[in-house]
Amino acid sequence: MCLAVPGRVMEIEERDGTRMATVDFGGVVKDVCLEYLPDLAVGDYAIVHVGFALQRLDEESAKRTLALFENLGLLEEEFGDPWQQAAGAPQEAHK
């Protein structure tokens, strides 16, 4: 039940004075309350938990994290301590 999943805002409307949205979770569509993220706009992604958007998903950070993973190992080779590498620290060959 602690599961919170990314979803994409499709439509936004006021209901009983509450900001609500329909949110798409890769095909499953649910009603989601936006009161905690009132600035969320159509097309934005958010972490949704039991019918509430709790935090906006940040595209920039996601890209940066993935880029960091892509570069793992490469940076070490480039900027790592050459003495340690020469001394045979258990470095695996990276593509």
Binding site: C2, R8, Q55
Partner: protein, 378 residues
Amino acid sequence: MKYIEEFQNPELARRLLDDIHTTATRPWALMEVCGGQTHSIIRHGIDQLLPEQVELIHGPGCPVCVTPLEVIDKALEIASRPGVIFCSFGDMLRVPGSGRDLFQVKSEGADVRVVYSPLDALRIAQQNPDRDVVFFGIGFETTAPPNAMTVYQARKLKIRNFSMLVSHVLVPPAIEAIMTSPDCRVQAFLAAGHVCSVMGISEYPPLADRFKVPIVVTGFEPLDILEGVRRAVRQLERGEHTVENAYPRAVRPEGNPAAQTMLQDVFEVTDRAWRGIGVIPHSGWKLSDRYRDYDAEHRFAVGAITTQEPAACRSGEVLQGLLKPHQCEAFGTTCTPRNPLGATMVSSEGACAAYYLYRRLGTPTSSTTAPRETTPVA
């Protein structure tokens, strides 16, 4: 689905694993706090891909598992009353109370309904003005804002036939309790990402300082978990103990201020008994006095309840990371998800159920010094 598939990429998982294998030179014990992470770790076989030296200890972060037996018994008692519609998240249905569970109470004629969101329960109350609708409000800091908003709305819309049985639990006091326990083996924490999406990360630096433990805020996809492990191991190897955010796409340092404001209005801190663990001071939220009229415990004076936990169940040790599920004698024999003896066998976030579901019946293989060729991560 965006933000999911990219974080399950096997090629990147391999890079992260390589890095962890290169970095880890000594044995380290890391605890993932959140049951959602435990589930993901076992499901993707991450624990088996890590180097031998890196052990993941499964923490107490499954709300279904730690909801105190006494509260479950109260829920059962309230649900059995005539005129009550008792609403709950689905995974509470099979959590054993002292004698029965919600599922049984329903089969005995009680009106028990499963809802996706607490707001659904509020809607049921609006549609059934002559019935008493009670929602079972449990969970960590992630679930608390939805529950808080629901109670707030009930009061605002003057829906008087709605109340909530609240038993919220909080992560930072649990970390403190784990670190001060004499049996503690934990050397670093993967903090629960979605709890931090709400609360931010300001509560963690004092804990990292005081106990000299690295705390890495970690997400839930396989790459997120590997990155959490990688950063924790790197800190441990360097003798550092800081708070790092390895889940920045969903966690801002300040959390969600609107949610925090609502939480402060609706809830107040209380001591909470964690099932299998015992009372942890200041580790829970209950409804604040302002919302007393919406408190099911207040509305339904439930008498003194004597609770009884099956003696065979060792979930307390499992929840504190002292015992792996398959080391419990009842595991897979007298205790299965269909017939759970303890709450950790009920929810798929519970360590016992995760082990059972993904067939971890023996000790993890010890031949993982080098990363294997294939990865089940995708």
